[in-house]
C-alpha cells in the first residue's frame, strides 16, 4: 500500500532515480575509472572536455581527469553524508525521545544544550568541531553528526510530547510495560514519519556541509578527491578553465536535488494531513 503510493509519487520517484544513478556511479567506480583520479599529468594541464583525449570532463590544474575525480568523490561524499546523518539521527533521537518522555530537569537541560548548539550557524559549528578534532576524513562525519544531534533531538522530542499523554500510553503502562518498552514499541513507531523526512533532508544538507568543509580545506584532504576540494582547487583557475568548477558543482547540485525531492515526496506520502491534497 505504501510502496504503491511511493511509485505513484512523481517527485519522490524522480529523487529516487537521481540517487540510484549516483549509486550506480559508485558501483562502477569501484571496478573501473577512466583514469587514476590522483595521477598528475603535466602534459595535459587544464584541458577542456574532449572525446579525443578521453578526458570527457576535462582536466584540472594538475592534469588529473575530472570525471574520474568526481566518480571517486561520489562515494566519499555519500559515505560521509549517510554516516553523519545516521550518527546525528541515532544520538539525537535517543536524546530527544528520552527527554520528551521523562520531562523534568533532564529534559530542561538537554534542550538548553540543544538551544545553544542551534544558536550557531551549522557550518560555523561544523568548523569549530573540525578545528578541535583535526582535519581528517572521518572527523567530518563526527562534525556533521554533532551539527545534526540537536535537530533530531528537537524533532523527536516535539513529536513525543504530542503523543506521550495519549490514552494508549496510559493503557500500555497499566499493562505493565516498562518505560523502555513503551519508548521502543509505542512511541518510536508513532514518531517515525517526521524522522524519516528529516533523515532524507539531512542527507542533502550533509552533502553541502561536507563540500563546504572540504572547500575550506577542513574536510577531505587533497589529493583524495572530494567535490568540495575540487571546487576549492578550481577557484583559482575558474575563469581560464570553467569546466574545473562546473562539473563538480553539478555533481553536488543534482545529488542534493535528489535527496530534497525524495524528502519532499516522502513527506507528501507519509503526512496524513497532506495525503489527499493535490
Amino acid at each position: 500500500m505504501k510502496a504503491n503510493r511511493l511509485t505513484r509519487n512523481a517527485i519522490a520517484m524522480t529523487g529516487i532515480t537521481i540517487i540510484a544513478l549516483y549509486l550506480l556511479v559508485i558501483f562502477v567506480s569501484t571496478f573501473w575509472l577512466p583514469f587514476d583520479p590522483v595521477e598528475m599529468d603535466v602534459d595535459h594541464l587544464l584541458e577542456g572536455p574532449s572525446l579525443a583525449t578521453g578526458h570527457l570532463f576535462g582536466t584540472d590544474e594538475f592534469g588529473r581527469d575530472i570525471l574520474s575525480r568526481i566518480m571517486k568523490g561520489t562515494s566519499i561524499s555519500l559515505i560521509i553524508s549517510i554516516a553523519a546523518t545516521a550518527l546525528g539521527a541515532i544520538v539525537g533521537t535517543t536524546m530527544g525521545t528520552w527527554a520528551g518522555y521523562l520531562g523534568g530537569l533532564w529534559d530542561h537541560w538537554l534542550m538548553r544544550v540543544a538551544d545553544v548548539m542551534f544558536s550557531f550557524p551549522s557550518l560555523l559549528l561544523a568548523i569549530f568541531v573540525m578545528a578541535i578534532l583535526g582535519e581528517k576524513t572521518y572527523n567530518v562525519i563526527i562534525a556533521i553528526g554533532i551539527v545534526y544531534i540537536p535537530q533530531f533531538a528537537r524533532i523527536s522530542r516535539g513529536a513525543i510530547l504530542t503523543i506521550k499523554s495519549s490514552e494508549f500510553i496510559k493503557a500500555a503502562r497499566s499493562n505493565g510495560a516498562s518505560s523502555t518498552f513503551i519508548l521502543r514499541k509505542h512511541l518510536l513507531p508513532n514518531i517515525l514519519v517526521p524522522l524519516i523526512v528529516q533523515v532524507s533532508l539531512s542527507l542533502s544538507v550533509a552533502i553541502l556541509l561536507e563540500s563546504s568543509l572540504s572547500f575550506l580545506g577542513l574536510g577531505v584532504q587533497p589529493p583524495a578527491p572530494s567535490w568540495g576540494n575540487m571546487l576549492s582547487g578550481a577557484r583559482k583557475v575558474m575563469v581560464l578553465a570553467p569546466w574545473t568548477a562546473i562539473y563538480p558543482g553539478l555533481a553536488i547540485v543534482f545529488l542534493v536535488l535528489g535527496f530534497n525531492l525524495l524528502g519532499d515526496g516522502l513527506r507528501d506520502i507519509l503526512d496524513p494531513r497532506l495525503r489527499n491534497v493535490r
Binding site: 495519549s166 490514552e167 494508549f168 496510559k170 493503557a171 500500555a172 503502562r173 497499566s174 499493562n175 505493565g176 510495560a177 516498562s178 518498552f181 514499541k185 509505542h186 513507531p189 508513532n190 517515525l192
Partner: protein, 332 residues
C-alpha cells in the same frame, strides 16, 4: 467478610499540587474487594473515581499528583510501599485496566494482535508467535468474527464497540485477579453498551475475576454490581449492596442521584429532578460536609464539621457518611 478479600484499600489520599493550591482528589478512601465480586464506584465527574483506581496501580502522573497516605493491600503487600518494578509486574498480570475511550486507548500504528499479546509477552516472556496465537484465541473469546484474519488489522479498521472488545481482550489476556473498568461503556451507544457489559460480566464470572466498575450510570450499576460505593468530593459517602442502595438510600446525595434518573412512566413530576448546585471546588476544602450547600436536609452541624463514617451494618459493611445517620442522631 464471608469470602476472602483480595484487595483492601485503606485511607487512600491522593492529592494534586496546582498553582492555586492543593487539590485533594481522593481524601481517605477505604474499601474491600472480595474474589469474584463486582464493586461499583459511582459519582459525578471529578468526584475522584478514576484517580482512586489510578492510585491503586500507582499510575497517577507525578508531579503534579502524589499519593499522600493510605495503604493498598494486595496479596499481603502494600502496593504503595512496593518498588516501581514490583508494581509494574503486577500491572496487566494481576490487576488490569480498561479505559474509557476505546478510540484513543489503542496504539494507531500497531496491529491489534500485537497489542493484545503485549501483556502476555511482557509477563510470560513468550515469543511473538505463541503470543499471537494467544491473541487470536482471546479475540475469538471476546466475539470478534474472523479473528484469525483480523488479528493483523490496525485499530482504525475496527468499530468503536469492537475496539472496546479488543481493550477487554488486552486486559484479560493474563487472567488477572482484578479488572478495573473505568467507564468502559461511556463512549459507546446503548446496544453496544449492553453487549460489552454482558461480556465483562460473563468473562469475570468464568474466572472469578473481581471487577471494579467505575461509572456514573446507575442503570449499569443495577445490572452489574454486587456492592456500590457512592463517591462525592473525594470521599465515599455511602457504601451498600446494590439492592439496599436502590431501595433504601441513606445519604441525601444518593437519594438525589436516584431521583435524577429519568423514568419512562409518566406518573412522576413533569420536569426531571436534578440536584441543585454544582460539585464543590476541591481546593482548600473547609472542615464541613462537602455536600451541605446542595443538601435538602442540611442541618446546622453540617456546615461546622465533617460527618464521620457511620457503620450501619457490620456484616455487610454498609456505611454512610452523613450527620443524619450518626449514632447520636439515630438514637435521638
Amino acid at each position: 467478610m464471608s469470602e476472602e478479600s483480595i484487595l483492601r484499600v485503606e485511607g487512600l489520599v491522593t492529592q494534586f499540587s496546582t498553582d492555586r493550591g492543593l487539590v485533594k482528589a481522593v481524601d481517605g478512601i477505604s474499601f474491600n474487594l472480595r474474589r469474584g465480586e463486582t464493586l461499583g464506584i459511582v459519582g459525578e465527574s471529578g468526584s475522584g473515581k478514576s484517580v482512586t483506581n489510578l492510585s491503586i496501580l500507582r499510575l497517577v502522573q507525578s508531579p503534579p499528583g502524589n499519593i499522600a497516605a493510605g495503604q493498598v493491600i494486595f496479596q499481603g503487600r502494600d502496593l504503595l510501599q512496593a518498588s516501581e518494578e514490583e508494581v509494574r509486574l503486577l500491572r496487566g498480570k494481576n490487576i488490569s485496566m480498561i479505559f474509557q475511550d476505546p478510540l484513543t486507548s489503542l496504539n494507531p500504528v500497531l496491529k491489534v494482535s500485537m497489542q493484545i499479546a503485549e501483556a502476555i509477552q511482557l509477563h510470560h516472556g513468550q515469543g511473538r508467535k505463541a503470543a499471537r496465537a494467544k491473541a487470536v484465541e482471546m479475540m475469538k473469546l471476546i466475539g470478534i468474527p474472523d479473528a484469525e484474519r483480523r488479528a493483523d488489522d490496525y485499530p482504525h479498521q475496527f468499530s468503536g464497540g469492537m475496539r472496546q472488545r479488543i481493550m477487554i481482550a488486552m486486559a484479560l489476556s493474563c487472567n488477572p485477579d482484578i479488572l478495573i473498568a473505568d467507564e468502559p461503556t461511556t463512549a459507546l451507544d446503548v446496544t453496544i453498551q449492553a453487549q460489552i457489559l454482558e461480556l465483562i460480566k460473563n468473562l469475570s464470572a468464568k474466572d472469578k475475576t473481581a471487577v471494579i466498575l467505575i461509572t456514573h450510570d446507575l442503570g449499569v450499576v443495577a445490572g452489574m454490581c454486587d456492592t456500590v460505593c457512592v463517591m462525592y468530593a473525594g470521599r465515599i459517602v455511602e457504601r451498600a449492596s446494590v439492592d439496599e442502595l436502590f431501595y433504601d438510600p441513606k445519604h441525601p446525595y444518593t437519594r438525589g442521584l436516584l431521583d435524577s434518573i429519568p423514568s419512562v412512566d409518566l406518573s412522576g413530576p413533569d420536569r426531571l429532578y436534578s440536584i441543585p448546585g454544582a460539585p464543590p471546588n476541591l481546593i482548600d476544602m473547609p472542615d464541613a460536609c462537602p455536600f451541605a450547600p446542595r443538601c435538602s436536609k442540611v442541618m446546622e452541624v453540617c456546615a461546622r464539621s465533617m460527618p464521620p463514617e457511620t457503620l450501619l451494618d457490620a456484616e455487610t459493611s454498609r456505611s454512610v457518611r452523613c450527620w443524619l445517620h450518626t449514632k447520636e442522631n439515630r438514637n435521638a
